[in-house]
Amino acid sequence: MQLAVLMGFVLAASSPLLNRWFGHRASFVLALFPALIAAWLVSQAPSVFSDGPLLLEWQWVPSLGISLTFMLDGLSLLFGLLITVIGACVLIYAGGYLKGHVDIARFHLALVAFMVSMLGLVLADGLITLFVFWELTSITSYLLIGFNHSNIEARKSARQGLFVTVAGGLALMAGLVLLGVASGNWSLYEIGQMESDLREHALYTPMLICLLLGAFTKSAQFPFHFWLPNAMAAPTPVSAYLHSATMVKAGIYLLARLQPELGDTALWVGILSVVGATTMLTGAFLAIHHTNIKKLLAYSTIMALGTLTMLVGIGTDYAMTAFVTFLLAHSMYKGALFMVAGILDHETGTKDVTAMGGLRGLMPVTATIAFVAALSLAGVPPLFGFIGKELMLEAVLAAEGFRALMLLFAFVSAILTIAVAAIIALRPFYGRRHETPKTPHEAPFSMLLGPGLLAVGSLSLGLLPALLGGNALLTSAATAVSGQPLEVSLSLWHGINVALIMSLVSLGLGFLLFKHWDRVRSHLATLAPVMRYGPEAGYEGLMNYIVRFSEWQTRLLQNGYMRNYILVMLLVLIALIGNSILLRHSPQLALTLDVQFHEVVVVGTMVMGAIFATISRSRLGAVVSVGIMGFSIALIFILFSAPDLGITQLLVETLTVILLVLVLFRLPRFSNLSTNLERIRDGAVATTMGVLIFLLIMTAWSIDQFEPISVYMIENSAPLAYGRNIVNVILVDYRALDTLGEMFVLALAAIGVIAMLKLRHDGTVNEGDKNNTKEPYDG
């Protein structure tokens, strides 16, 4: 299975080839991959339902306890099926939507890679593996949102999404590490089996806050919700996939996954309920401001994500059932609606719902799909969305904390959502026919297949929840979320109760709101000045501040004068070394004057060279004096029987001289640029540095805290590494990884030097430079 998922990356990489072979049918070929994975998941389902989680072990880095083990339980099964089934629909849909696009191969590549990352994320058992896949989804979604990279809005939105989710990812990493440390376990399955209670651990609060930050940013919870509507700059298939069914649900998945171990504390319930409810209301309220169909859907997705978070927060058995049902329902109708929005955009050339109308006759199939899916969104019986909403309301009614607040928010959100659903389903298809930029006609089969399937799913699961093992799947998923066995048995009719009455009232009010939508919107427009002070303004402000700060510190530190760089570096070194040597260790000065005459001579030559280098009035003189120092050092190496070091030092000195000769004549005239005061300052810094290094060497020499590793190296170099030259054995065997790193550093430095010289030479650097420095925040 792991291999199958990893093969997905290979498949993603080969999508340009597939596009060349199969042309516009490549989408269908690629869709086979998620379809096969879905088939495998279905085939495993019976055993998961009856025997509990399925573990597929695969060690990755055993010495660090990192494994690529997959765990398949009800929750990951539900998510896995959503990802693969909707993924297949979206792939086929995208084939029609982007037909003939020059970059369709790149699109397929990113989409399949994203799908694989998402699958890995929900199947991962190891905390580290989970995090790796989490970050992969951030990166691939960045590529997808910024797909139209020639569009500045798309670039900006992609960057925003990346910043917000990756910043959250950083918090998540801290949280996962804390979780691993607190539980002493890096496997989710093992953590689930643990006897001890993590809720009582001292690290619980920081761990929870870090994990929640990660989940909230990913799932666009208030106040991080602003990136999601902006991400609508992506092509519609991406929105349909990432922003309805998958990526934004990753955070929800994480919450649901952790709820059995970390949930049900006052902190958990408080944060999740309040944040979830606030997000729900914010999303629903902001939705009706917009006439752009994708923005409408995006905000209603935020509303749904808020609902899901709230349900996980409530944490009762009832809420768990509601959670899994709502999750499934939402993924289906929202996926379908996004694809319908894409069809409308594709066929009419506009995204503005007020500019569309009377399309019912021209696009009957699309209209039907939109109608069914929107009914599910509104929560009208007999659609599956109705069951989801009923359960949600009942869960809120039965909640223990914050009931009044959540109930109010849920009720208002329901009204607003119904209005949104009506706007999407009725506005473009009924009423007077408007002129649109393109003449609309029915979409091709490939674009109708996906949304059609999802709409049929919404309808049939609503009528017959037990169909296709729906109940069994949800039972298993709810059990995984709550941590205790649960029985889910869904039905349309719950009898006449408070939830049903609330549903009916909200339905009426929602429809009323839809009728007066245009008027409401013009009233809302007066709020615009206030809305500008949202969290997004905070984000913009922070970003601008960061840019200004880095400009300031770049001007301060990177001013292009070599002497300033050296000064700064030395000062930092003095601070670090001085701190550690004077405050943590007492400096030692055990001088033993056991020196030979020739050693004195060599050191004397070196000192002379150093002195002459500082007072020399010609550059060549200074270079030669520094060279003398270098050669003396080589001599010292050889005297103390380190021929390799000696040879290296000699060669490096020689090369330095060669390089200096090459640049010598290009340098400005040798002159005194510093004032006297500066010279005194520089002298003081240099002297301090020298004294500190001297103290450091003396101290290091007299402390031996550890047995030197050289003994081991000397003893094992011939028998284990088959080499008698220990220096070389260290370089290529003991410490080969370090050497490899150094090779890369060397290569980078060389490429940098070459690039700088060539660019300067061509005179193109200035222009390119300007563009580059302006790029980060002008967009």
Binding site: L651, N728, L731, V732, A736, L740, A749, I754
Partner: protein, 143 residues
């Protein structure tokens, strides 16, 4: 600025360069047991080419190097370094574990550290030559 050298330098360079290159290969191969190794050998080889460069100029040196761009040497060096990692993988041993094989007829110890060292050699040679030649080219075009 750096003109082609005198007749003594030219003649010496022509004979010294092959010798230095041979010496560098010698240093590279003996490195595991005696003083030497990829880094030193790479520097010696770079020195050889630099001497030639000083004597005959950039275009002549490029001819000696034939089609090989020093920048490619850097890449090949890094690649060899990475390749030397792979055999340990197949043996199921940790990353970078050295593998040794004896080639029977000439009794030569082949090993991944040797491949690695060759990688170091090429990377060092490529880096130094790349920098020196870039500097020389800048000089050449500006009188």
């Amino acid at each position: 600025m750096v003109k082609s050298g005198t007749i003594i330098l030219n003649t010496a360079a022509r004979f010294l360069m092959p010798l230095q290159l041979m010496f560098s290969v010698f240093l590279l191969l003996r490195g595991h047991d005696e003083p030497g190794g990829g880094f030193i050998a790479g520097l010696v080889a770079a020195g050889a080419f630099t001497l030639y460069l000083f004597a005959f100029g950039v275009s002549a040196t490029k001819e000696v190097l034939r089609m090989v761009d020093p920048r490619d040497l850097i890449g090949v060096g890094l690649l060899l370094g990475m390749i030397s990692v792979v055999p340990a993988w197949f043996m199921g041993q940790p990353f970078l574990t050295a593998q040794w094989w004896t080639i029977p007829v000439i009794d030569f110890k082949a090993s991944t550290p040797l491949i690695f060292d060759v990688g170091v050699y090429l990377a060092v040679l490529g880096s130094v030559m790349g920098m020196v030649m870039a500097l020389m080219e800048v000089d050449k075009d500006e009188p």
